[in-house]
Structure formats: structure tokens, C-alpha cells
């Protein structure tokens, strides 16, 4: 046994190379809406890239500001999604504008699809998606069509890396709470 084997998983940085297509053939988990992407040292996640309907760029930026305000007003708005980070990017290829939505989260998206769809419409995230070409018109009542759009536009990673692999946002928050409590205790002991 090497020293490395004795160390907790989170303390050993890890990388995972992912086959083309995003799945490991021999161990694909089946979710309610189809196969689910594997968990990697960087947790679950997706990278959705889709073409913006021409002329909608300002719409999308405005929604960015709105969403920021939503989270300021109600910090737990997105809690259901078990997120670490979201990144929203607009970029051009030739003269066309594309939208990239990258999320890193702790639970496979398939599990909470309906809850996520409900949340998206509650906070207007939908309106951003409605600016994308090919977004299904019936997405609010048809979670399967929403999932299909996400799958069609998902660009799976070929490599993911975690400096502290497989750690969930809740675990991080718990650890920080313990740290805060500890330093408060130490302060009081002085």
C-alpha cells in the first residue's frame, strides 16, 4: 500500500479522460430520460453550445443582469440544482453568435429534470434558452423535449480534472462552517 492509497479521495487530485461521445460504454447509467453522463473528478456537468437567434444578443445579456438580481434577492433560488458553478458565455464564430452554458453540479441532471425545468421557468432562465435556435416550443410541459435539446447541444468533455475530486458543494459548505466555528472557538479561548 502506498501513501497515496491511505489518503482520502478528496486529497488526491485526479483526472479522467472521457471517450468520444461522453460515455464509458461498459458502464452507462440509465436515467429516467435516457443514459446519463458519468460523474468525474470535477463532479457532474454539462457544456451546452447553441446558436443564438440573430439579433437576440442584448436580450440574453439583459437576462444575465436579471438573473444576478434574482440571486441577490433570493440567494437560495437555485439550490435545487446542487450547483458549484455556472458559466454563461457569448462568442462569435465568423459572423454568427453562439451561446455557451456550462454548469458543474453534484447530482446527475436527469434526477431532478422536472424540478430544474420548473425552476427555469420560475426565474426566467427559460427566456434565455428561448433565444436559442431549435429550442423546443413545448419545453415547459414536456421535460423530455427539454432533455433532448440539452443532449443535442451537449459537448461532452474529453478530459476533466479535480484538484479536490468528487467533493460536493454541501461538503465544502459544511467544512467551511466547521472551520468558522473552530476559529470562533479559538478566538474565544484567547
Amino acid at each position: 500500500m502506498t501513501d497515496k492509497d491511505k489518503r482520502p479521495e478528496w486529497s488526491v487530485p485526479a483526472a479522467m479522460a472521457i471517450p468520444e461521445g461522453g460515455y464509458f460504454e461498459d458502464k452507462v447509467d440509465v436515467g429516467r430520460y435516457g443514459p446519463t453522463f458519468p460523474k468525474t473528478p470535477a463532479c457532474y456537468g454539462f457544456t451546452i453550445i447553441a446558436k443564438l437567434i440573430p439579433g437576440r444578443e442584448e436580450h440574453v445579456r439583459e437576462h444575465g443582469r436579471l438573473l444576478a438580481q434574482t440571486v441577490t434577492d433570493a440567494p437560495d433560488s437555485l439550490e435545487v440544482l446542487k450547483l458549484h458553478y455556472l458559466r454563461w458565455v457569448l462568442f462569435d464564430i465568423k459572423s454568427e453568435t453562439y451561446f455557451m452554458y456550462q454548469g458543474i453540479f453534484d447530482t446527475d441532471f436527469d434526477k431532478y429534470t422536472e424540478d430544474a425545468v420548473a425552476l427555469f421557468s420560475k426565474y426566467g432562465i427559460d427566456t434565455v434558452f428561448e433565444n436559442l435556435e431549435g429550442f423546443p416550443a413545448d419545453w415547459k410541459t414536456n421535460p423530455a423535449s427539454f432533455v433532448q435539446f440539452v443532449r443535442d447541444h451537449q459537448c461532452p468533455s474529453f478530459l476533466e480534472y479535480g484538484e479536490y475530486p468528487y467533493v460536493s458543494a454541501d461538503e465544502i459548505k459544511k467544512a467551511l462552517r466547521v472551520k468558522a466555528a473552530l476559529s470562533e472557538m479559538l478566538d474565544q479561548m484567547q
Partner: protein, 442 residues
Amino acid sequence: MIDLDDIQYILLNRAPALVGRYEFLSFRSAAAGRTWLSAMLEQLRSVQAMRESVEQDRRWVTVGFTWNGLRALGVDEASLATFPEEFRQGMVARAEILGDTGASHPETWEGGVAGPDLHAIVLLFARDDDERARWQAAHDELVARSEGVEVLSSLEVGAIPPFDYAHDHFGYRDQLTALAIEGSGEQPTPGSGPLLKPGEFILGYPDEDGPPTRLPQPEILARNSSFMAYRRLQEHVGKFREFLAQHGETPEQRELLAAKLMGRWRSGAPLVLAPEQDDPALAADPQRNNDFNYAKDDPLGYAVPLGAHIRRMNPRDTAANMSRHRMIRRGATYGPHLPDDAPEDGQERGVAAFVLCASLIRQFEFAQNVWTNDKDFNELGNERDPIIGNQDGTLDFTIPKRPIRKKIAGLPAFTTVRGGAYFFLPGLKALRWLAAGGEELP
């Protein structure tokens, strides 16, 4: 208002029965199926009719069909294609999603329920054995008369002693929680959650999200219908009792451990309201026995462990969109009672249950996939539902406790899935339409 005259009684009422029988049927031809169904129609009661005659009645009958069964009855392909995908695929194809693997795999299911020939189910509930026997004789005769109708298998169900209240073979009091639906004439008891929109359970009505969408076609088939998941769950009573004895030294400790697995004492008293000591009077009082929540009352699970059966199957105020994941539960125990002091006798006994809902994928399958079998549910990491989760002996059950929690490693499987299927539960008009071969009704 909801059409209480057209909805099969079982959706909103519980029959005051002590015994029952489920028949699993196959139709060789559409004509055979329709002949049989036409004869059954007069036995079926709507919600309203059942309420009016429940005092006199001695038995209650329900029928449902698999997707293959609807095809066997002659429903056309265009209509069949409008049914939700999970129903079209059937429970067997959804095994991995539901956690039906290993010992619970559909390969092991008997009685023809896992095959494509399963077309229909008849559920009989009766007041007593005599009434059941009478019904069965009449039904056998009907089947004999209806050439091309075959009984694949049957299951007898019945209450087990002591008979003072409904309980399962492990001894847990059941049928305590009930949800209430807008327009059903019922009010939720304290703690049962808000009145729910009828469309969560009955097709053709607004649900918690708005007006009905994506209904099966034609409309006459969908209106006042519902979906029903059948689960035959064997209970390993010997193993369960052994487990309690192994982890609890005194009878009090064993009772507490049983309560921790469920979230209620075996009497039915909820742990949130009676964390230290059983309270049978509380258990029996519908005004109090459901009146609790988790987020404020028990956030860390000191009363009800975060992985206990009822905290998973209805996380109440600790889950998002709770009103979109509720389920109506029906069913009964089957198999012989195992007296408290008797050793395991190797006979099959368990619960033959039904979950009714408008969307199998959003309600039943979500519950199975996320609440029952997601090892990470509530950040637990290595646990599944201790009563119905897929257990292979490698998982834990954590009981939060001060100063340190207790973790039981290597939880055994107390239940095994022995059968199951998805059924469509048509309204009464829809049933007449099916019996008439899809002819427009006057």
C-alpha cells in the same frame, strides 16, 4: 369540479375490505378482451357510486390495462403512440431506472407479469373470504365463457392479525397518510400538505403546473383515467427480526431501531412528534398523527434519520416541488402471517401495492429513482431506502444521534421485488368505449 361519477372508485376511496384477489389476464384476440370487459363493466363502481353504497356493498372491483393490453383490445396505433413513453415501455424495460436489479430483477418475476402477454389486471377487494370465493367462482366462469381470455396468474391478498388496524408483515401500521385532492370532497388532515390539483392524479384536469397537456388520445380514453404502478414486494420477516435483535439489546432498543428505519414507531406514531417514546394514542389520532415537518422540526435527523422510509418518500418541506411528486397508495399484504415468536418458515409474504398518479415518470419513477435508490439522496453517500431500496449488503443506514451518530454498515435487504407492471386505469366512459371497440358512444 371533478367527475366523481366517471372515475374508478379506487382512485379516491379505500374499500373497507379484509381480503382481496388480483387476477392477471391475457387476451388472445380483441373480441375476447371486449367480451370479457363488457361483462365486467357492471361490477365497476365510480367514486361517487361507491361512496353511496359502501355500507351495503361486500366487494369492490377495479380494472386496468397495460399498453400491450390496450393494443390487444384493438386500440389503434395512432392512439397507442400518444401514451407516455415510460408506460409504452412498461415496468420491465424500466428496471434499471427503478432499481430492479440483482435479486429484484424482472427475470425472476413469476406469474407471467413480466412478459408481453400481460394485458389486464382485475383487483378485487372483499369484506370476507366467502365473498371473495363467490366472486372468484363467478369470474372463473366468465373467463371460461370468454374464449381467448386467459388468467396468467392470481394473487390472494388479505389483512394479517392483529386485525385492529392495517399493518404490514414487519408490523408497521400503514394507511396513515392520505393526500387530499381539490374537488374530491375531502380535506387534508393537519400535516398532509395542501389540497392538490386533480390533474396530478386524474387525466384531463389542471395539475399543479396548469391546464392538462399531452394527454393520450382520443380524449374519451384519457378523461378521468389514471396510471397505476403495481409492485409485489416480498418482505423477509425473519431477516428483519434478526436484524433488530442483532442491533438492539432490549425490546425498547429494538422498537426504536424499527422506528428509525421507517420514521414512525410500529404503532404509527411519528418520530418527529414522539422521538423518545412510543405513543399509540398519537398514532391513532388523524388530527395529530401527520402534523409534522422536517426543515424546522428535525433538520439534522435526530428524530427521523435522513434516510428513513417516510422521510424519503415524502420529504415534505425539505424537497422542491413536493406537490409534483405526490402519489396515491393502495394495496394489501399477501402471504401468511409469521407470528412474533415463530422462526422464518421460508414462505413468501409481503406487500402487493399500487401507486396511482398522472405521470409515472414524474411521480412513481422519480420516487424510485431518486428518493428510494439514489445513494446520495440527502448527501448520505452510501445509503438507500432501508425498507424498499435496492440493498446488496454493501450499504449503510445512519442514525444521527448526540454526541455521535450511529452508522449501521452492511444493511441487509428486507424486501425483494417479485413482480410489477404499469397499468392504465381508464374512467368508466373510457372503459365502455374500449369494450365497444372504440365506437363513438351516444
